[in-house]
């Protein structure tokens, strides 16, 4: 395929044929706002916020679906473009709840970001607003369709990546809405709660129930680690506020990219569960009692010492774990064979 040279904001760029203006601009470090575009999903061109001016063209094309042509001269922030984007934002805001104070998406919301960037306030187009009930029929995903801007990314990710198609556009015109079959909620729709729709939602329409009121994006520390469940090894970010894990999301790289399953995304409540063991326990008179570490370790040493003395190390068995780290398994292997003197070490590899 031959390459194409064009200019964007008077800078020249050469790209392979078939490259969109949006991608070509990104190669020059030029940021064009988008709502409905996602590099992992099919091209859509629905939201129009990414429109640009092309010299000689009568209309402003959507840069996410328009491929560059030889000699094209593109302007991404011209007066015409800015005016169009402001109008688009005014139209989106006309029907958007004025809820940034308590909205979970504040600080990570594209609508908020672009309204700020282009200085747009609500109120240019007074008119009817939606009053859909917030859907919270499940423990994980809150759907507030009043905030939905109909970018369709959730619909596409559910169909194109997750392959389940539990949501789609329904109704027409002003009443158009992303809904489950018969609008009966995610629980009845066969949703697996992978949360990929929440991950791609650019606004506060889809949020995580577990994280409500648990911290603003800028208050959270994000620690990249490996999911503790199955053997896929998804890369996750644990979101931490004041020493507590308040949520998790996909790290965006590794085998999983931005995707996770319900366990990896929503299954971390056990970390701070009140039943976590916080002190060593030793059985006395048939009951387990909390003791100090010193006492517990001494008890283990005394009892294993006695078994080793009377019967030899071969009378001790060790079960290592498919849950703990490599370093810890290596040490257990060393402890068993070298210190306890037994090769009876195994784990649940067969389960």
């Amino acid at each position: 395929m031959s390459d194409i040279t064009c200019t964007i904001n008077d800078k020249s760029v050469t790209v392979p044929r078939g490259t969109t203006i949006l991608t070509a601009a990104a190669m020059l470090g030029i940021d064009i706002p988008t709502f409905c575009h996602d590099p992992e999903l099919s091209r859509y061109g629905g939201c129009r916020i990414c429109v640009v001016e092309v010299k000689g063209w009568g209309q402003l094309p959507a840069s996410c679906v328009t491929e560059v042509r030889e000699g094209m001269e593109v302007y991404t922030e011209s007066e015409k473009v800015l005016e169009a984007r402001r109008t688009i934002l005014e139209l989106l805001l006309a029907n958007h709840p004025d809820d940034c104070l308590t909205c979970e998406k504040t600080g990570a919301c594209r609508l908020q970001e672009y309204a700020y960037r282009y200085g747009v306030r609500k109120g240019a187009f007074p008119g009817a607003c939606h009053a859909y009930p917030v859907e919270a029929d499940n423990p994980f995903i809150m759907r507030d369709m009043n905030k939905c801007i109909l970018c369709g990314k959730c619909v596409r990710v559910c169909s194109e990546v997750v392959g389940r198609s539990v949501i789609d556009f329904s109704f027409r015109g002003f009443h158009a809405k992303v809904a489950t079959p018969l609008d009966s909620g995610l629980l009845n729709a066969g949703c697996v709660f992978c949360g990929s729709c929440v991950e791609v939602c650019p606004v506060g329409a889809l949020t995580e129930k577990q994280r409500i009121g648990k911290g603003r994006p800028w208050e959270l520390d994000s620690v990249t680690t490996t999911c503790p469940y199955c053997g896929v090894g998804c890369q996750i970010n644990l979101l931490v506020k004041e020493g507590r894990v308040v949520g998790a999301n996909a790290a965006g790289h590794g085998v999983n990219g931005r995707h996770l399953c319900v366990k990896g995304r929503y299954g971390h409540g056990f970390i701070h569960h009140p039943e976590r063991l916080t002190n060593p326990l030793v059985r006395k008179n048939g009951q387990l009692h909390e003791v100090t570490w010193e006492e517990a370790i001494q008890e283990v040493v005394r009892r294993f010492g006695r078994i080793k003395q009377e019967y030899g190390g071969q009378a001790i068995g060790v079960l290592a774990s498919a849950r703990i780290t490599n370093e810890e398994n290596y040490l257990l292997n060393k402890l068993a064979r070298l210190v306890l003197g037994t090769n009876h070490i195994d784990h649940c590899a067969r389960l």
Partner: protein, 524 residues
């Protein structure tokens, strides 16, 4: 896995045996879906109509435990129709004559009798696997948890060798491992016969290398596997056990037997993050920190070593497992002193050739797939490209062996066990999260036909009884199970299905036959 997760999306055909991927490895199922979108053929071998089976172009609904009959018969079709990769077999393999002889008797018609799969479907699947450019074979515990588990895997390997579907991108024999670090635990020598990096403990050179590095002698006889340890505990030859992060009372076959074994010990130490059913039996319980509270590495199913990073402080007075192990070693008179997990990793890597080139700083951005023998080695995404580890790929003659316990008059149904999407293993973690809200209890999947015969309705309470125990559960009438089979997960301690399962094991790997045992159902 011989290959990598990403490569699954590029396969022309996926042969998935005994893997409920959409529930047990959901993110891998995304790759399978992508392959299908690209036009790949999906062949699923499973007695249940899982979601993956619903996606399949060819669903071979096999009688549980008859995989060898199917795989041998596929090999026979491929041989008879001259579809095998002569060049690959000639140059890369040995033992071809044994294979030809071993599969000779397995006509698709005989296989149909043994597996319940129509002979023509077997032919169709065999032709498809042999003739596509890139076929990847995925399997999970549905293939392995049988008395013939090792032979099942060998039969699958035979097929891959015969068709040259290994050593190239998007091919291979790919077990999808079920736990975050089961691959790593095996790599690290948490196996009775191996030191780290699968170096045999019975081999004097290997033993010498470790005992010199560690500064002390290592016993020379391979030890016992989990199941054998439990039997030894009942016999009284194992007196004490140290169980770290495992819950065998719920996870192991024939749980009543396991409980009896642990109760028979003089001394039991359990180290875990919760007071699990196993910890409740212990004499000493040591509180461990969770994955979020420590640093280290896990190795995933595609052999990728990845970082675990501390996000929060250990809860209460709990400690990271490595710190507890070091404290025990010190108190037992052999100090192990490490500043941090990285020091442990470096010591391990110096003794483990497949990890030798891996260092924490190399894992900062992304993981590395072993073998990675040197600091400048990029890691290995595809195994066996030029040659096999042992040199030539060896065909193994394997023969069909029926399950240890088949249904009879007294116990007329087959119990199959596995996992559900919303929970994990023995539930010690997921049952303490919001996942419990969406999936609060276990239900027994019963086919429409069997429910009708037994007069069962949706939601009825029943007792499921095997020769080894009984549990009470609620019935879910389900189209996923075939007539004559019931299915339940082992996630819920209140419905501890492993009280029923059979501890009969594969003599080669000691894996228990968790996928087949005989039960009956009584209405409560």
């Amino acid at each position: 896995m011989t290959n990598s997760i990403d490569e699954i999306a590029g396969a022309d055909l996926i042969l998935a045996i005994g893997t409920n991927t959409t529930e047990a490895h959901p993110v891998i199922s995304l790759r399978i879906r992508r392959a299908i979108q690209r036009g790949a053929v999906l062949v699923v071998v499973d007695p249940r109509k899982t979601e993956l089976a619903e996606l399949a172009h060819i669903h071979l609904q096999i009688k549980p435990g008859s995989d060898i009959a199917l795989l041998n018969s596929m090999a026979k079709v491929i041989l008879d129709e001259n579809l095998w990769d002569k060049e690959f077999v000639e140059s890369r393999c040995e033992g071809f004559e044994e294979l030809v002889e071993a599969v000779q008797g397995y006509t698709p018609e005989l296989a149909e009798e043994l597996t319940g799969i129509p002979a023509d479907s077997i032919r169709q699947a065999a032709r498809a696997y042999a003739t596509v450019g890139k076929a990847t074979l995925l399997y999970t515990m549905g293939l392995t948890q049988h008395v013939c588990g090792t032979d099942n895997v060998l039969a699958a390997a035979n097929l891959a060798l015969l068709c040259g579907q290994i050593g190239r991108e998007s091919t291979g024999i790919n077990p999808l491992r079920g736990q975050n670090n089961v691959q790593g635990a095996c790599d690290m020598g948490a196996l009775p016969q191996f030191l780290a990096g699968y170096q045999p403990v019975a081999d004097e050179t290997c033993r010498k290398k470790f005992s010199e590095a560690w500064g002390g002698p290592i016993p020379d006889q391979p030890g016992l596997t989990v199941g054998e340890m439990m039997q030894a505990a009942i016999r009284g030859s194992i007196k004490g056990m140290y169980i770290v992060g495992e819950n065998p009372v719920i996870s192991d076959a024939d749980a009543n037997h396991v409980e009896k074994a642990l109760n028979n010990l003089d001394f039991l130490v359990v180290q875990d993050i919760f007071l699990t059913e196993t910890a409740k039996l212990a004499d000493v319980v040591l509180p461990a920190a969770s994955f979020a509270e420590k640093d280290g590495t896990f190795t995933n199913t595609e052999r990728r070593v990845q970082r675990v990073r501390q996000a929060v402080q250990p809860i209460g007075n709990s400690k990271a497992d490595w710190q507890i192990i070091c404290a025990l070693a010190e108190a037992l008179g052999l100090p192990m002193r490490y500043q941090n997990p990285e020091e442990i990793f470096n010591e391990m890597a110096a003794l483990t050739p497949s990890y030798a080139g891996i260092r924490y700083e190399r894992l900062e951005k992304e993981g590395i797939q072993w073998p990675c023998p040197a600091a400048d080695h990029p890691g290995t995404s595809i195994l066996h490209q030029e040659k096999f580890v042992r040199g030539k790929g060896k065909f193994h003659a394997v023969a069909y062996l029926p399950p240890d316990e088949l249904p009879d008059r007294q116990f007329p149904l087959v119990l199959n066990t596995g996992r559900r999407l919303f929970h994990y293993h023995t539930g010690s973690m997921t049952l303490r999260t919001d996942l419990r809200e969406i999936c609060p209890t276990e239900q027994l999947d019963v086919s429409v036909h069997d429910a009708q015969c037994l007069g069962l309705n949706q939601g009825d309470r029943v007792k499921v009884i095997s020769r080894r125990g009984e549990v009470e559960m609620t019935v879910r009438i389900s189209e996923t199970v075939p007539r004559g089979m019931v299915f339940a997960s082992f996630h819920f301690p209140e419905a501890a299905i492993n009280k029923l399962t059979n501890h009969a094991r594969c003599p080669k790997s000691n894996i228990p036959e968790l996928k087949v045992c005989a039960v009956r159902i009584e209405k409560v």
